[in-house]
Symmetry: C2
Subunit: 105 residues, 2 copies
Protein backbone atom coordinates (compact mmCIF):
# COMPACT_ATOMS: atom_id res chain seq x y z
CA UNK A 1 0.00 0.00 0.00
CA UNK A 2 1.46 3.31 -1.12
CA UNK A 3 1.58 5.82 1.73
CA UNK A 4 0.36 8.77 -0.31
CA UNK A 5 -2.15 7.56 -2.91
CA UNK A 6 -5.73 6.81 -1.85
CA UNK A 7 -6.17 3.26 -0.61
CA UNK A 8 -7.48 0.87 -3.26
CA UNK A 9 -9.70 -1.72 -1.60
CA UNK A 10 -8.55 -4.46 -3.97
CA UNK A 11 -4.91 -3.80 -3.08
CA UNK A 12 -5.79 -3.89 0.60
CA UNK A 13 -7.60 -7.21 0.17
CA UNK A 14 -4.61 -8.57 -1.73
CA UNK A 15 -2.24 -7.48 1.04
CA UNK A 16 -4.49 -9.21 3.64
CA UNK A 17 -4.41 -12.31 1.44
CA UNK A 18 -0.62 -12.29 1.36
CA UNK A 19 -0.41 -11.58 5.09
CA UNK A 20 -2.96 -14.05 6.45
CA UNK A 21 -4.55 -16.41 3.89
CA UNK A 22 -2.72 -19.54 5.01
CA UNK A 23 -3.88 -19.05 8.62
CA UNK A 24 -7.36 -17.99 7.47
CA UNK A 25 -7.85 -21.15 5.42
CA UNK A 26 -6.64 -23.33 8.31
CA UNK A 27 -9.04 -21.56 10.73
CA UNK A 28 -11.97 -21.58 8.31
CA UNK A 29 -14.99 -19.29 8.07
CA UNK A 30 -16.57 -20.22 11.42
CA UNK A 31 -13.46 -19.66 13.49
CA UNK A 32 -12.62 -16.47 11.63
CA UNK A 33 -16.15 -15.17 12.16
CA UNK A 34 -15.59 -15.56 15.93
CA UNK A 35 -12.53 -13.28 15.68
CA UNK A 36 -14.62 -10.80 13.67
CA UNK A 37 -17.22 -10.79 16.44
CA UNK A 38 -14.55 -10.10 19.05
CA UNK A 39 -13.41 -7.08 17.03
CA UNK A 40 -17.00 -5.87 16.59
CA UNK A 41 -17.30 -5.89 20.38
CA UNK A 42 -14.07 -3.92 20.70
CA UNK A 43 -15.37 -1.41 18.15
CA UNK A 44 -18.56 -0.97 20.20
CA UNK A 45 -16.48 -0.32 23.32
CA UNK A 46 -14.21 2.14 21.50
CA UNK A 47 -17.23 4.01 20.07
CA UNK A 48 -18.63 4.37 23.58
CA UNK A 49 -15.54 5.39 25.48
CA UNK A 50 -12.41 5.20 23.32
CA UNK A 51 -10.29 7.94 21.80
CA UNK A 52 -10.51 8.72 18.09
CA UNK A 53 -7.28 6.75 17.64
CA UNK A 54 -8.80 3.75 19.42
CA UNK A 55 -11.86 3.96 17.19
CA UNK A 56 -9.72 4.13 14.05
CA UNK A 57 -7.81 1.04 15.14
CA UNK A 58 -11.00 -0.92 15.81
CA UNK A 59 -12.61 0.09 12.50
CA UNK A 60 -9.44 -1.16 10.79
CA UNK A 61 -9.54 -4.46 12.67
CA UNK A 62 -13.20 -5.09 11.83
CA UNK A 63 -12.57 -4.42 8.13
CA UNK A 64 -9.43 -6.59 8.24
CA UNK A 65 -11.30 -9.60 9.69
CA UNK A 66 -14.20 -9.10 7.27
CA UNK A 67 -11.63 -9.08 4.47
CA UNK A 68 -10.07 -12.32 5.66
CA UNK A 69 -13.49 -14.05 5.58
CA UNK A 70 -14.05 -12.71 2.06
CA UNK A 71 -10.63 -14.09 1.12
CA UNK A 72 -11.54 -17.56 2.40
CA UNK A 73 -14.63 -17.48 0.16
CA UNK A 74 -12.79 -15.88 -2.78
CA UNK A 75 -15.08 -12.82 -2.77
CA UNK A 76 -13.79 -9.52 -4.19
CA UNK A 77 -15.06 -6.84 -1.80
CA UNK A 78 -14.42 -4.08 -4.31
CA UNK A 79 -16.73 -5.80 -6.79
CA UNK A 80 -19.28 -6.53 -4.05
CA UNK A 81 -19.49 -2.83 -3.09
CA UNK A 82 -19.69 -1.72 -6.69
CA UNK A 83 -22.53 -4.14 -7.47
CA UNK A 84 -24.61 -3.16 -4.45
CA UNK A 85 -23.89 0.59 -4.09
CA UNK A 86 -22.24 1.61 -7.36
CA UNK A 87 -25.49 2.88 -8.89
CA UNK A 88 -26.74 4.70 -5.80
CA UNK A 89 -28.87 3.64 -2.82
CA UNK A 90 -30.05 0.04 -3.37
CA UNK A 91 -33.44 1.08 -1.97
CA UNK A 92 -34.33 4.16 -4.03
CA UNK A 93 -31.57 4.18 -6.68
CA UNK A 94 -30.70 7.82 -5.94
CA UNK A 95 -27.19 9.12 -5.24
CA UNK A 96 -28.67 10.98 -2.25
CA UNK A 97 -30.99 8.49 -0.57
CA UNK A 98 -34.65 9.47 -0.57
CA UNK A 99 -36.09 6.22 0.81
CA UNK A 100 -39.05 6.90 3.11
CA UNK A 101 -38.03 7.15 6.79
CA UNK A 102 -40.50 4.47 7.88
CA UNK A 103 -38.46 1.91 5.91
CA UNK A 104 -34.99 2.61 7.24
CA UNK A 105 -34.81 5.79 9.31
CA UNK B 1 -17.60 5.24 -8.48
CA UNK B 2 -16.11 4.49 -11.87
CA UNK B 3 -17.22 1.09 -13.18
CA UNK B 4 -13.80 0.06 -14.48
CA UNK B 5 -11.11 1.48 -12.20
CA UNK B 6 -10.39 -0.25 -8.88
CA UNK B 7 -12.57 1.01 -6.07
CA UNK B 8 -10.93 3.68 -3.94
CA UNK B 9 -12.14 3.31 -0.35
CA UNK B 10 -12.10 7.05 0.22
CA UNK B 11 -14.34 7.60 -2.81
CA UNK B 12 -16.70 4.90 -1.55
CA UNK B 13 -16.84 6.52 1.89
CA UNK B 14 -17.53 9.88 0.26
CA UNK B 15 -20.36 8.40 -1.81
CA UNK B 16 -21.87 6.86 1.37
CA UNK B 17 -21.59 10.29 2.99
CA UNK B 18 -23.47 11.93 0.12
CA UNK B 19 -26.05 9.14 0.07
CA UNK B 20 -26.82 8.76 3.77
CA UNK B 21 -25.09 11.23 6.12
CA UNK B 22 -28.18 13.27 6.94
CA UNK B 23 -30.07 10.13 8.02
CA UNK B 24 -26.99 8.73 9.77
CA UNK B 25 -26.54 11.85 11.87
CA UNK B 26 -30.24 11.87 12.80
CA UNK B 27 -30.08 8.17 13.80
CA UNK B 28 -26.77 8.53 15.66
CA UNK B 29 -24.06 5.96 16.40
CA UNK B 30 -26.15 3.71 18.68
CA UNK B 31 -29.06 3.33 16.28
CA UNK B 32 -26.75 2.86 13.32
CA UNK B 33 -24.80 0.19 15.19
CA UNK B 34 -28.06 -1.75 15.58
CA UNK B 35 -28.47 -1.76 11.79
CA UNK B 36 -24.86 -2.90 11.44
CA UNK B 37 -25.60 -5.81 13.79
CA UNK B 38 -28.62 -6.81 11.73
CA UNK B 39 -26.43 -6.93 8.64
CA UNK B 40 -23.74 -8.92 10.46
CA UNK B 41 -26.44 -11.50 11.25
CA UNK B 42 -27.50 -11.59 7.62
CA UNK B 43 -23.86 -12.07 6.59
CA UNK B 44 -23.57 -15.02 8.99
CA UNK B 45 -26.71 -16.59 7.46
CA UNK B 46 -25.46 -16.02 3.91
CA UNK B 47 -22.06 -17.54 4.75
CA UNK B 48 -23.81 -20.64 6.08
CA UNK B 49 -26.39 -21.20 3.40
CA UNK B 50 -26.46 -18.37 0.84
CA UNK B 51 -25.23 -18.23 -2.74
CA UNK B 52 -22.02 -16.43 -3.62
CA UNK B 53 -24.18 -13.50 -4.83
CA UNK B 54 -26.01 -13.40 -1.48
CA UNK B 55 -22.68 -13.38 0.34
CA UNK B 56 -21.35 -10.55 -1.83
CA UNK B 57 -24.45 -8.49 -1.09
CA UNK B 58 -24.15 -9.02 2.66
CA UNK B 59 -20.42 -8.20 2.73
CA UNK B 60 -21.29 -4.98 0.90
CA UNK B 61 -24.03 -4.13 3.40
CA UNK B 62 -21.79 -4.73 6.41
CA UNK B 63 -19.07 -2.50 4.98
CA UNK B 64 -21.68 0.13 4.05
CA UNK B 65 -23.07 0.31 7.61
CA UNK B 66 -19.56 0.34 9.08
CA UNK B 67 -18.78 3.22 6.76
CA UNK B 68 -21.84 5.19 7.86
CA UNK B 69 -20.76 4.88 11.51
CA UNK B 70 -17.28 6.07 10.55
CA UNK B 71 -18.90 9.00 8.75
CA UNK B 72 -20.86 9.98 11.86
CA UNK B 73 -17.57 10.09 13.81
CA UNK B 74 -15.65 11.75 10.96
CA UNK B 75 -13.19 8.84 10.69
CA UNK B 76 -11.38 8.20 7.38
CA UNK B 77 -11.40 4.41 6.95
CA UNK B 78 -8.68 4.56 4.31
CA UNK B 79 -6.36 6.28 6.80
CA UNK B 80 -7.43 3.89 9.57
CA UNK B 81 -6.47 0.84 7.48
CA UNK B 82 -3.20 2.37 6.39
CA UNK B 83 -2.18 3.22 9.95
CA UNK B 84 -2.98 -0.24 11.32
CA UNK B 85 -2.04 -2.53 8.41
CA UNK B 86 0.01 -0.37 6.02
CA UNK B 87 3.35 -1.57 7.43
CA UNK B 88 2.45 -5.26 7.63
CA UNK B 89 0.86 -7.39 10.32
CA UNK B 90 0.37 -5.28 13.48
CA UNK B 91 1.50 -8.27 15.55
CA UNK B 92 4.79 -9.28 13.91
CA UNK B 93 5.36 -6.39 11.44
CA UNK B 94 5.91 -8.82 8.56
CA UNK B 95 4.12 -8.61 5.18
CA UNK B 96 3.44 -12.35 5.52
CA UNK B 97 2.30 -12.84 9.11
CA UNK B 98 4.60 -15.00 11.22
CA UNK B 99 2.93 -14.43 14.59
CA UNK B 100 3.02 -17.61 16.72
CA UNK B 101 -0.16 -19.71 16.34
CA UNK B 102 -0.84 -19.76 20.07
CA UNK B 103 -1.51 -16.00 19.94
CA UNK B 104 -3.97 -15.83 17.05
CA UNK B 105 -4.24 -19.13 15.17
Amino acid sequence: MNAIEPLCLRDFQQSMRAMYLEKDLARGVDGTFMWLMEEVGELAAALREGSLDDQMGEFADVIAWLTTIANIRGIDLSEALRRKYGSGCPGCRHLVCCCPDEGKP
